[in-house]
């Protein structure tokens, strides 16, 4: 697979790519990525690609390397071997704050909102790399997606409910206007009705043109909204297919969708 021409596509152009639209440009590509925590070989050669406008999901058990993969993409960790290409450029060594400017935004696992700052301040921090006029525009976009955050704008992040905090974490990640949004376990610990809501919003964000890489324990839901998926096991991709294909796969059903 050759890197697509680095035509820095405006995220607005690409409509959500349905199914396996091979024509869409590959915006992010991990090529044989090996990442270590000290001497622990966490990612053992991961190859994943994301096309413009897709929702792609990574599923797998705890410790399979899903979070590590996201951290490697967003620059919080660097691969010891292999490369990460974003819009055709090698970004394996770039710092997280530079990658935010490039257009990769990461809503980390466990929400990690600034609990002692207000909702509004949290969102403004998300727009740290942007100009004031752009921040204002992005704020209204986030408030449109999450009217709940608007109601609570002056409340401390830490006083929000779990679902609201998750909305805030996603909203904050959106404030940098990313081309690619990395979501780590957005449904973790939420009531089923909230899970539905979060997934609907993820689809909406995607429909507005943001490419999404979604890590989820809730594989069923994730496969329902994704176009494609990768199954990770002990730091390796063991299966890559369309979301429909994975949902129909016997092994996947047994291991991750709770069917015996």
């Amino acid at each position: 697979m050759t890197a697509a021409p680095a035509e820095a596509g405006d995220q607005a152009i690409a409509a959500p790519a349905g199914g396996n639209d091979e024509a869409a440009e590959v915006i992010l590509r991990l090529d044989d990525v090996h990442t270590y925590y000290g001497s622990i070989h966490a990612l053992q050669g991961i190859t994943v690609d994301l096309r413009q406008g897709e929702i792609v999901t990574l599923i797998g058990a705890n410790g399979a390397g899903k979070t590590t993969t996201l951290k490697t993409i967003s620059g919080l960790l660097h691969p010891r071997q292999g490369t990460v290409h974003f819009r055709g450029a090698d970004v394996s060594r770039r710092a997280p704050h530079d990658l935010v400017k490039d257009g990769i935004s990461h809503a980390p696992e466990g929400r990690r909102i600034f609990s002692r700052l207000t909702v509004l301040e949290n969102l403004k921090m998300g727009g740290y790399t942007r100009r004031p006029a752009e921040i204002r525009e992005d704020l209204s976009r986030v408030f449109e997606l999450f009217p709940r955050l608007f109601e609570r704008a002056n409340q401390k992040g830490g006083t929000l409910s779990g679902g609201e905090q998750q909305m805030l974490a996603i909203g904050r990640a959106l404030m940098s206007r990313p081309a690619v949004l990395l979501l780590d376990e957005p449904s973790l610990g939420l009531a089923p009705i909230l899970v539905q809501q979060i997934f609907r919003i993820i689809q909406e964000i995607n429909a507005q043109g943001t490419t999404i890489l979604l890590v989820e324990q809730n594989a069923q839901q994730a496969l329902a909204i994704a176009q494609r998926g990768y199954v990770l096991q002990t730091g390796r991709v063991i299966l890559a297919d369309s979301a429909r294909g994975l949902a129909a796969n016997e092994d996947v059903r047994r291991a991750y969708l709770g069917e015996i």
Partner: protein
Amino acid sequence: MKAQNRRNAALAALVIGAALIAIGYVVGLPPVVFVGALFTAGCAALLQGEHRSLTIVAGMLTATALLPVIVLIQPFSTFSSQNLWIDGFSIAGIFVLLALGLNIVVGLSGLLDLGYAAFYAIGSYTFAFAASSFTGLDFPFWPMLIAGAISAAVFGILLGAPTLRLRGDYLAIVTLGFGEIVPIVILNSSKYTLGPNGIGGISRPEIFGFEFPIQNPWPFYLAMVGIVTITMILIYRLQDSRLGRAWMAIREDELAAASSGVNTVTTKLLAFALGASTAGLAGVFAASKLSVVTPNLFRFDVSFTVLAMVVLGGMGNIWGVAIGAFVLYTIQSVILKQLNQFFAAADVPFLSSIDFIEYQFLLYGIALVAMMLLRPEGLFPSIRRKRELHVDDAGEGPTTTADAMGAAPQ
């Protein structure tokens, strides 16, 4: 419209107050000074925190005018003469500067620095080298204020660059070590620093060709007030800036701050450098004020005292930290001494045999523990921190700021 009127009234009050204060001092009528101070205090109240730089000027003017008059009143006037009080206030100002600087590092950015006195030492020795009979150089004071700040900032960056990747306790240990190393190096390189004797004969500031006199404490007092006022305004601006928000984000969650696009390395380095430069400023002033610097002035107890000032005053709140530093220094240098004499004179059985100055750190320790238990936000907390620590009564309800941002949904 209404805000405009209030601002004009505040400005008028400030001008009238300043004029009255000046007249009061020139003709030597304390009541006139009092009335003037009422006007400047009124100015600060009218502004209601809307125009912070002006509020700081008005507040500092009120304090500057009132302090020398208050010490003429009974209980204070028995402690020492007005001149001695004023002399003490300018040294208290040094600690206010130190606390304001440490507040950037500890209060805003959440980086625990236990060796802060090292930067104070570097500022002091910078001026001692640049303007004393020992080196024979005589650089002027005012530019050296900036130079001292810069040299301390450089050392802040040198220390910070390799160590700021450490977190919490580990950073505290490294800074503690640095705080020990600097005075020891000064002590042992006696060829350049005269070791334990210190460098004496340091120049005093000049203004329009007139050197600050030794006998009269007023020039130092006023110069200190000016420096503190400017520093406070600058720090307020910083706190409200994009950089200030990045500091708070790092204090809250460094990983999330990085994911939001904050360059955590340079942001933390800036906190260290700016904190250090404030200490450098204080150091230059102290060297000139005391005219002698010795390694003893910069030992761990200074770092600890300043940290106690920041915590007691209310971490993160500039006025709180400034007042905390001022009050604590005054208690330490004046009240404790007086307590000794007072109890000795009154011949109180147990208390008369205690040297309160010796127990100063015990008292600090008790005060800090009591503080953490009873009022963790400090004596004068920032509104933010108060809300943080008393979540039950945290304000809810609809937003006003968001409305102002014009960011309503739809």
